[in-house]
Subunit: 366 residues, 2 copies
């Protein structure tokens, strides 16, 4: 009998799309979340509990063949404990690295993956050294719990830096050199059993106020693609990885700089549902179950638009040729990711024209 | 607020794939079936009851915006009654026509859609007339409850015909001329609100023992495509249709003959999940909700293999490049449709080569 029961720690939209990718394959996902109304809990059986609660995790693990996760900002230790009795993929050490911006950047550097210059900030005394080394402006980021632009400030003077440090809670942080980038790119990779690997094409992302707004893929640049694949390959080897791994990059005039990694399916890979031969969600499930990976080839060009705050009318979106709509089943809230749309087209110019029409439908976008 | 709650009468694999197509769109499907273990009831909330039970249908209707169905062999009258209070698509009169081979062929003929020659058989006395008109061999088919090859016999003599008539229960039947066909084709169409229409490309089907074995699409023949589209367009107009409609054809040396129609999503359209820009399941939901229809363009070439009786190892299937696996969540039973696989490729020759490898994995196939 094939193993095919997957426990997912977390039941946001990523857990929901994982569970939906599982059904056709006969994969039964079970999710762990605090709320029975969570997006993933609407489409799969749920264990209700805190994501770091050992008893809830044990309950999840008892009914599945492998445990995975859709969120990286969760306690590592209960997952490490769980590994004594069940496979947990990706390995908790990958979470530990992704949770802490200092550990993450140190890992990148140890593998000769270029990053922005950075300085660890453990106390107010470190601030002056940061400014000396990095110049102005610089970006102060808390080491932990940063996502969607939270826990970071761009500052241009010693006074602003000191104020930002206090505003962010005077917690362990890093200061990074300000990068004047031309583009933001991301690469999504997947590693399965026996080191089997696949890479999606690079995608180009646009963030607004720290939150991903759009992704267009593929971003075609063979040397960059090769370089990024080599780096993610090294990360996956070092971490003894299983599952989908995403790394976000800055592309400057001169180089590709790794910004951060996510040890899970990633918002910049949502286009793969319709835009690639196998979605990142299906490939993540295949990887954690040790099944053969699916083709990551793109089906033409794809453009993804995040729907933030509230959903536009589904009928207006679907009237655009080639549009696909994804509703996460969430209630509206400012800046909340409540859904996304993807356009796919063999013709890039036509794709971009239709994408502009799509953006015009979305309140506050376009 | 968009209407987006759909009640589905029946919860087999078609209901399951409809419900799964609904989730990304924020469509909440609810299914009606006798068993809580039915494929559709595994992935969507279910009302338990007989499909012709007025109370169960009313319970289903009470919680949805529109009622549709995944099976045509159900009583028409309770659905007609239901229409007084909720939209039921496709219209029950389309079911009535599809349920009865005599009504179906008479409808085809009334629209000048060619069919095999046929004779109504209401009693043993009609058998001789059938042989006179149709010659040998001929096919005796019960008028009602025929699907997957059930309720029909090919006979080559008066004695065989009389025996077959008795074996099939001496029920109202039709006798059809034996058609020496070169190919079996099917066309899947969809009609939405305000007469919006879309047509998938023709697909080529192979049946074994009356059950669909494989579908390969597109079958490219522009004149045939145009002719079949015109006929399905006329059927949809005449029936005031909403939803997906499938018609199976025989292609002889000289002509295209309509064999039967299905007022629902159809097995020969499963390839559209990965092989077309919008699947038949999504388009059926869009149509019954009155939403804009999605593109029916194929993504290259697709080949679909039904999995009958029991599933092969999912890992062996997924090791074939481009293979997609669909497990219906059924227990094994000889000749039961328990799943299907689809291969998609831009290169038709490579598709067929990989399809042979896929067929070799399946017990009793290839």
């Amino acid at each position: 009998m094939d193993k095919k029961r997957v426990g997912i720690v977390g039941a946001g939209q990523l857990g929901r799309m994982l569970a939906l990718a599982g059904y056709p394959l006969g994969i039964a996902c079970r999710v762990l979340d605090t709320s029975p109304d969570a997006p993933g809990a609407q489409v799969a059986p749920a264990v209700l509990g805190r994501l770091d609660d050992a008893r809830a995790l044990a309950e999840l693990a008892a009914e599945v063949d492998v445990v995975t996760l859709e969120i990286e900002n969760i306690a590592v230790e209960p997952l490490e404990t769980l590994r004594a009795r069940i496979d947990v993929f990706p390995p908790p050490r990958a979470l530990a690295a992704a949770q802490d911006r200092l550990a993450e950047k140190t890992l990148f550097r140890s593998l000769a993956i270029p990053t922005a210059e950075f300085v660890a900030i453990d106390s107010e005394r470190d601030l002056a050294q940061a400014a000396d080394k990095l110049g102005w402006p610089l970006v102060l980021k808390t080491r932990r719990m940063g996502y969607d632009g939270r826990g970071q400030r761009v500052v241009s003077s010693a006074a602003e830096l000191a104020a930002a440090w206090r505003e962010l809670g005077a917690v362990p942080s890093i200061a990074e050199a300000w990068i004047s980038f031309e583009r933001e790119l991301s690469l999504i990779a997947v590693q399965g059993a026996n080191g089997q690997r696949a890479f999606y094409p690079l995608a180009e992302n646009v963030h607004r106020e720290g939150i991903l707004a759009t992704t267009i893929a593929p971003y075609v640049d063979a040397p960059l693609q090769a370089r990024a694949e080599r780096w993610l390959g090294e990360l996956m080897s070092t971490l003894d990885y299983r599952g989908v791994l995403a790394v976000e990059f800055f592309l400057t005039a001169n180089e590709l700089l790794a910004n951060e990694m996510a040890p899970r399916v990633h918002n910049s890979g949502h286009w793969t549902i319709e835009g690639a031969e196998t979605s990142q969600f299906e490939n993540h499930l295949r990887a954690v179950l040790g099944w053969p990976l699916g083709s990551t080839l793109p089906r033409g060009h794809a453009a993804m638009l995040n729907l933030l705050g509230e959903l536009p009318s589904v009928e207006s979106v679907l009237a655009i040729p080639g549009a696909h709509f994804h509703d996460y089943g969430k209630s509206p809230r400012p800046a909340r990711k409540v859904g996304h749309c993807t356009l796919v087209d063999v013709d890039r110019a036509r794709l971009l024209e239709r994408f502009r029409a799509l953006q015009a439908l979305v309140p506050g976008d376009g």
